[in-house]
Amino acid sequence: MFDSASIIVGLEIGTSKICVVAGEINAAKALNIIGLGQSRSRGVRKGEIADAALAQEDVRNAIVEAEQMANVEIRSVYLGVTGNHIRGFNNHGVHPVPSADREITLEDVQDVMKNAKAINLPADNTVVHAIRQHFHVDGQSGILNPVGMYGARVEVDMHVVHGLVDRLKNGIAVVKALQLEVDEIVFTGLASALALLTNEQKELGSLVIDLGGGTTEYVVYSEGIIKHTGVLAVGGDHISNDLAYGLKIPLGRAEQLKLEHGSAVLDGTCKGQTVSSPGQLGLPPKSLNLEHLRRIMSLRLEETFQLIESELSHLGLLDRLRAGVFVCGGGARIPGIQTMAGNIFQLPAFPGKTNSISGLKSALDQPEFATAIGLVKFGSLQTKLKPASGFTEGIKKTFVEIFRR
C-alpha cells in the first residue's frame, strides 16, 4: 500500500515501556504520524538491556501493534539509545586555509569537521553523534556557514555524544534479531529535544529534560545549536523503589501509589492525610501517610533536578536558557513537576508538547511519546538531507555508512 522508503519508524526501548512510532513523508514533504505501538518493557534497567530475550519479545509486540495501526510493514527503525554510559562533550577542530586567496572552500569545511571529529576516545567507546555547532574564522565566532568567506584559519566547535560500543550493540542486536534494520542510532535526549523544540526555542535557549522510567536525559539548546547533553541513570523507577523502601510496600503497589497520589511538591494539604493500600494476602488494608509518600517523591525529584542544575550552572549554561525548561517523558505527568523545575532552575518550566508534526493527535499529546516521535523526526531530517541522490547512489551511500560504522 505504502512505499516503505517513505516510512520512517522510531523505536525507543525504554525502561518502563517500548514505544514504536511510524511516520510517513506525505506529498507535501511533511511528516505525518500514522502509527503507534507500545508494550510494557520488562527486559530493561536504567535504559539499558538487561534481558535480551524479554526485550525482544516486547519490541516485537510493539512493532506488530504499530504495523497494524499504520497498516505498513516495518523494515527498518531509528533506534533510540540511552544509558549511564552515554556522555556528551564539546570538541574543537582547527584547519588552516591553504589556498592563496584565502577563500574558504567546501573542502576546507569538510577538513575542519574531520579534525573536530578526530577525538581521543577510549577504545571501547564510539561516537553516537557529532553535531556541528559554530564555525570560527580567524577568531571571529558565531559563523554558521564559512564557505565563500575569507580567512587564514577556520575552526569549528562540535558537540560529540559518545557511548560504550558493547552497550550500544546490545540494543541493536535486539532489533536485528527481529529481522529489522537499524537506520541509525540516536541519543534519546536529542530525539526528545527535536520533537519538543521549535527553532525559535532552540535559538532562545532551552533545556529539555526527559524524565523517563530508568534514566533522565537532558539537552541544552542555545543559539540554535546543541550546547550540552547528558544522562542521569535516575528515573521513575527510582521513585517507585524509594516509595517501596520508605513505606514498606511491594514495588508494584508503590508504582500504583505513585501514579495515584504522587506529587512533586509538598503542600500543606497533604499533612496528616493517609491513603489506604489494599492488604496483601488477606491482611487488613494498610494506611500510609500521604505526606511521607510525597516527601520521598519530592526529595528524589528535587535531587535529580538539582544534579542537572549544578552541572549546567557549572558549565555556565543556565543564563542562556531564555525560553525555559521543557519536561517530557512519563515524569512530566507528575503533578507539580513544572513548578518544581521552575523553582530549581529559576526559569519558566513547561510540559513538553510535540510540535510541527501532524498526524495522530492522541499520540502527539502524550509526553511519553516525545522521544519516539523525535526519532521519527530525526529520520525525516536525515532523509531530507539526501533527497536528490538517485537510487544507486543511495545504495552506495548506505554501504559507505555501514562500513563507516
Partner: protein, 432 residues
C-alpha cells in the same frame, strides 16, 4: 561583713587586679605546686588543707591548716562533712584571706573530704567579700568508686551555686591522654598539670588586656548558671603552620572528646595569645573550623599579644553546654546586688581603671539535696554523658539499604553518592 575587710577595701582605685589562688585539699595543693613552677606575676598563692602533713609537702608560699581545732591537722578522712565543718570553724580567717582580692581562683579535687567540703564554703566566703570566684576542680577517676563520685557531684553542685564560675576536669578523661604504662604518679601529675595549665590560661585571659579583650564577665557568661560542666582545653604550637596545628590539636584534644564537646557546646570562649607576629589570617584559620564545629554556640573570642609568645600561638578554650536532661537549673535567680548606698552614688563607670565593686554580694544558701536529686546528679556525671546527635559530621549509614529493583544493576554514582539509595535516606530526612 567584718570591720577588717571593710577597712581593707577602702581604697577603691586599683590599676592592677588583685588575684588570689587558693589550693584547697590535697589535690588543690598539688596543683599549686605545678602552678608555682612558673610564677604567675601579681598573684597571691595560698595552700589550704586540713592535713598539716600534706601541707608541709606543698611548695606554696603561704599555707593554712584548716580547722586545726577540729581535725588537729590530721585531714578530713575523705568526709566532706568534716571538711565543711573545718571551713565553718575558720570562717573569719578565711574572710581575712579573701579580702581585698578582685578575683579568686579555687583549685580543688572533688570527691575527697577537704576539697569537696571546704571549697563551696570558701567560695561563698570569697564571694561575700566581693571577689569574683572561679573554681577549677577535678572529678575523681571512676575506679575511685561510686561514693567518691557521688560526693564529687554533690560538691560540684554546691560549688556551682557558690562560685561565679566552675570549670571541671573529669579525671576519667585522662585515660585518653595516657598510655598503658603510665604510672599512677604520672597520671595524677598530668591531671594536676592540666589544671595548672587551665589556671594559667584563664589567668592570662583575665590579667592581660587583649586586642580583642575578654574579661571576667565574658568568662562568667560562658560558665555561670549552666547546669552542666564546662570543659576547657589549651593547645599551643609554634612555627609556620601554627594556626593549623593548634586547630588540629584542639580538634583531637582528649578533654574535648574529639570535638564532641565542641559540637554540643552552647557557649564557647576562645582566648588566643600570640606574639607580635600573630597574623589576622591565623585567627581566621583557627576560628573557621571552630565556628563550623560549634555552629549553634555563642562564641566569645579574645585575642592578646604577648611579647613572650613571639613565634608561638596558644589557645585556651572553655566550652559549656546547657543541660537537657530535665534537671532544673540549680542556681537561684540572681538576687539584686546589695550595693552600699555611698558606693552606688559614686560614678562607677567614669574611670575605667577604677574597679569599684560592692563589697558584699548576696550569696544564695547552699542547695539542699534530696535523694532524687542525688540520683540525678550521679546520672549526670561525665562518665555517663548523654549522646546528642552531632550535626557536624554525617557518618556513613551502617544500615545496609536494600536497593530493591536496582540491587543487581550497575550503581549510579554521582559525586560519590549512590543515587540508587533513596534520597531521603542519604539526606537523613526523618519519616516519623
Amino acid at each position: 561583713m567584718t570591720a577588717s575587710t571593710k577597712k581593707k577595701s577602702e581604697p577603691p582605685i586599683k590599676k592592677q587586679l588583685v588575684i588570689k589562688v587558693f589550693g584547697i585539699g590535697g589535690a588543690g595543693c598539688n596543683v599549686l605546686g605545678y602552678a608555682a613552677d612558673s610564677p604567675l606575676e601579681g598573684v597571691d598563692i595560698m595552700a589550704i588543707n586540713t592535713d598539716a602533713q600534706g601541707l608541709d609537702a606543698c611548695a606554696a608560699p603561704v599555707k593554712f591548716v584548716l580547722g586545726a581545732g577540729r581535725t588537729r591537722g590530721l585531714g578530713a578522712g575523705g568526709d566532706p562533712e568534716v571538711g565543711r565543718a573545718a571551713a565553718q570553724e575558720d570562717l573569719e580567717k578565711l574572710q581575712c584571706f579573701c579580702s581585698g582580692a578582685d578575683i579568686i581562683f579555687l583549685l580543688a579535687g572533688l570527691g575527697g573530704g577537704t576539697g569537696t567540703g571546704a571549697a563551696p564554703i570558701i567560695a561563698r566566703v570569697a564571694r561575700e567579700t566581693g571577689a569574683l570566684v572561679l573554681a577549677l576542680v577535678t572529678l575523681p577517676f571512676e575506679f575511685e568508686g561510686g561514693r567518691r563520685q557521688l560526693q564529687a557531684q554533690t560538691g560540684l553542685h554546691q560549688l556551682k551555686a557558690a562560685a561565679d564560675a566552675v570549670i571541671c576536669l573529669p579525671n576519667q578523661k585522662l585515660f585518653k591522654l595516657i598510655d598503658e604504662k603510665t604510672s599512677v604518679v604520672d597520671g595524677f601529675k598530668i591531671s594536676n598539670g592540666l589544671l595548672a595549665e587551665g589556671l594559667r590560661g584563664i589567668w592570662r585571659l583575665l590579667a592581660r588586656t587583649g586586642l580583642i579583650n575578654v574579661d571576667f564577665a565574658d568568662l562568667c557568661s560562658v560558665t555561670r548558671g549552666r547546669h552542666a560542666s564546662s570543659s576547657f582545653a589549651t593547645a599551643e604550637a609554634s612555627g609556620e603552620r601554627r594556626a593549623e596545628q593548634v586547630a588540629e590539636k584542639l580538634a583531637a584534644h582528649p578533654l574535648l572528646d574529639g570535638g564532641q564537646i565542641l559540637s554540643d557546646a552552647d557557649s564557647l570562649l576562645v582566648s588566643i595569645v600570640g606574639g607580635p607576629d600573630l597574623m589576622m589570617t591565623e585567627i581566621q584559620k583557627l576560628m573557621a573550623p571552630l565556628s563550623r564545629q560549634c555552629e549553634n554556640a555563642n562564641i566569645i573570642l579574645g585575642a592578646a599579644i604577648d611579647g613572650q609568645f613571639a613565634g608561638r600561638l596558644s589557645v585556651t578554650l572553655i566550652a559549656s553546654s546547657h543541660c537537657h536532661d530535665g534537671v532544673p537549673a540549680s542556681s537561684p535567680p540572681p538576687a539584686p546586688e546589695k550595693v552600699a548606698p555611698e558606693k552606688a552614688a559614686a560614678p562607677e563607670f567614669v574611670d575605667s581603671a577604677e574597679t569599684t565593686r560592692p563589697v558584699s554580694r548576696f550569696v544564695a544558701p547552699p542547695p539542699s539535696l534530696s535523694e532524687e536529686k542525688r540520683e540525678q546528679l550521679l546520672k549526670g556525671r561525665p562518665g555517663y554523658s548523654r549522646k546528642r546527635p552531632s550535626r557536624l559530621q554525617r557518618e556513613l549509614p551502617l544500615e545496609i539499604v536494600f536497593k530493591g529493583r536496582f540491587e543487581k544493576s550497575e550503581p549510579t554514582i554521582r559525586h560519590g553518592e549512590d543515587l540508587d539509595v533513596p534520597t531521603y535516606i542519604r539526606r537523613g530526612v526523618p519519616l516519623n
